[in-house]
Every structure is written in structure tokens, then in C-alpha cells.
């Protein structure tokens, strides 16, 4: 199905540094999908499960979280906590017979790295293949 999914990204301050480069132009130049809406948070460990669910309630077809590598989170355990909350939402989606992969957790290096754009493209492709969300 060819459609432009509504994708919400919650990323920690550190792994989303690339979004600040060149006043945001660098991400666009690197091919970051325009349909991925980025919300930066101080730490992904601060994200609550309800925030992720509200994104789906607000119409997101897919949601993903980008936090620090598990062994080097700036706030020690923040990204691991975020991963558990993402997993809780994945299980809840599964209980509703909705593809759990509509939400994913990525652990990426901090700073300027191509993986940040790669993750967005990957998520965009996954959701495009799944089709519009059921909510």
C-alpha cells in the first residue's frame, strides 16, 4: 500500500543532536523522512507509557523511541527504562491484534551518526508495508 504514514519519534536530547545541526537542515539533506515528527526529551527514561499510547490515540501509524546505547546511557538507565515501556506497549498492541512492530525502540550512539537517519527510514518503510494504523 502506498501511503505516507504518520510516524512519531521520541528521542533523547543526546541521540537527537543531529536534528540541531544546521538549524535542522542537515537532517533534511541526509534524507530524513519528512513524515517523521520528532519530539526531543531530556532522557527517554522520562517517557511514560501513556505518552506513547497518546501518540497512537492522536493518529500515529507508527511510533519509535531513540535512546542511548544500553551500556552507555547518559543517565545510566534511562534508555533501558524506555525500552521496557516500549515493550509494554508492544505487548498491549499484541493483545489488541495490532502489529507490535508499530512501535519500536532503537539504541543509537550519541552525536552525529548516520544510524539516526537510517532508523527513521527503516521505520518509515516498515509502517508503509504494514499500512495505515487501525486506530
Amino acid at each position: 500500500m502506498n501511503f505516507t504514514p504518520d510516524i512519531r519519534l521520541f528521542s533523547c536530547h543526546y541521540t537527537a543532536q543531529q536534528s540541531c545541526a544546521g538549524e535542522g537542515r542537515e537532517l533534511q539533506e541526509l534524507g530524513f523522512p519528512e513524515n517523521v515528527r520528532l519530539s526531543r526529551v531530556n532522557c527517554t527514561g522520562k517517557l511514560e507509557e501513556i505518552t506513547l499510547l497518546k501518540a497512537f490515540e492522536d493518529g500515529a501509524d507508527g511510533v519509535y523511541v531513540v535512546g542511548c546505547p544500553t551500556d552507555s546511557c547518559h543517565n545510566l538507565q534511562g534508555s533501558r527504562r524506555a525500552a521496557k515501556r516500549v515493550e509494554a506497549v508492544r505487548q498491549a498492541l499484541g493483545e489488541m491484534d495490532v502489529e507490535p512492530d508499530r512501535i519500536r525502540m532503537y539504541h543509537l550512539p550519541r552525536g552525529l551518526h548516520p544510524e539516526f537517519v537510517d532508523a527513521a527510514r527503516e521505520m518509515n518503510q516498515r509502517i508503509q508495508e504494514m499500512g495505515p494504523g487501525p486506530f
Binding site: E48, I50, L53, F56, E57, E95, M96, P134, F135
Partner: protein, 222 residues
Amino acid sequence: MIVAERKPLAEILEMVKDCKKILVLACRGCVTVCSAGGEREAEILASLVRLGLKKNGCRAEVIEGSLVRQCDKEYIDAIDEWQGQYDAILSTACGVGVNFIANLRPTDNVYPALNTTFFGGSAEQGVWSEQCAGCGNCVLHLTGGLCPVARCAKSLMNGPCGGSVDGHCEINPSVDCVWQMIYDRMGRLDRQQELTVAAPIRDWSTAGHGGPRKLIRGDLTV
């Protein structure tokens, strides 16, 4: 505290599929402490119910509320605050709370969002274990403070049984044999001799086998 966990979402959605206005009602008592039914969990559940109903083609207005506790009459009366805003209450309290709403709100539909599991404590963050069965005839003074009713799979009064192996229960090696723990602890307390006295056949009528229990404190009734 009373420990509980959320029911499977499909079961909850089936309960409320025909409701048009749902009040997800949190309890700020035990189920808040065990992270099953407090305000945070009720907010999450309300969102899941909205998503699940929408996905199933149902339309309902889902609001959230909370009570200090759902096991006291004066707090149940506070449900009047949401009068007219719901046609069903989805309670995230333990079974006591759901019963109290049913007892005191004769025309309100109430549904349980949780499975009430046991009386227990938090062994570590995110882990709860059963410690008490509420049997109404406490024998902890005889067993060094460790409960054979709740923590022995057979509720033996004169344990351990032959299934105790290396301090573990035969039902599951991950379960400690409480009778081994009792003997070890009583030994440390220099009280092991007390365990040579055979416990008599137990009267289980206080444990609910005599029907629903009631406690009346004449000094407190008005």
C-alpha cells in the same frame, strides 16, 4: 497489601464493548502500591480501552477518575462526582472495591479490570510474593513468623512434606520450602525444640470454609 494485575485486554474489551460512556476508576490504595490500579495505570488502561474499542469498530467516551479507596462507603459515595458521565464503571481496584461499588451503587454497572491475586509484599522492585492467606487463625507465633498456610503449597501444619528437596518445594524448584525456612529460622533463634510439638488438626472454619466472614467491632460501631 492486596496484590493484583491487569486482566487480559481482550477480556476487558469484551466486558465493555456495548458501553457508550465508561468511567475507568482508579483506587489509590493497595493497587496503587503494586502498580496495578492506581491513577497512572488507570490512565494507561483508559487509553488502551479507547484504542481497543476504536480498533474493534466501537465508539465510546472513556473518562478517568480515582478514589482514595474503593473499600469504604464514604469514598464510594464520591462516585456521585461523575454522575451522568458514565453508563459503566471499569474499576481498577481489587475485588473488594468492585464488590463495594456493586453493594452500594445498585443501578451502576461495574466491571473488574484486575485479577486480584494475593496478600503479599514487594520482595524487590517489580516483584511481589504471597505472604498471608487471611485464614483468620494466625499461627505465626509458632513458626518463627513464617506462614505455612500461605507459603506451603499444601498449607501443612506439621511440615515439611516428603517433597521438600534441598530447601525447595516439589511443585517448583524456584519455590522455597517454607517449612525448611521455619526449621532453619527456629534453629537460629534457639527455638527448634518448639517444633517437636505436633500441631493439632486445624479448624478451617475461620478461613472462609464457614462462609463469608464478617468482623464486628462493637467499640467502633455507631
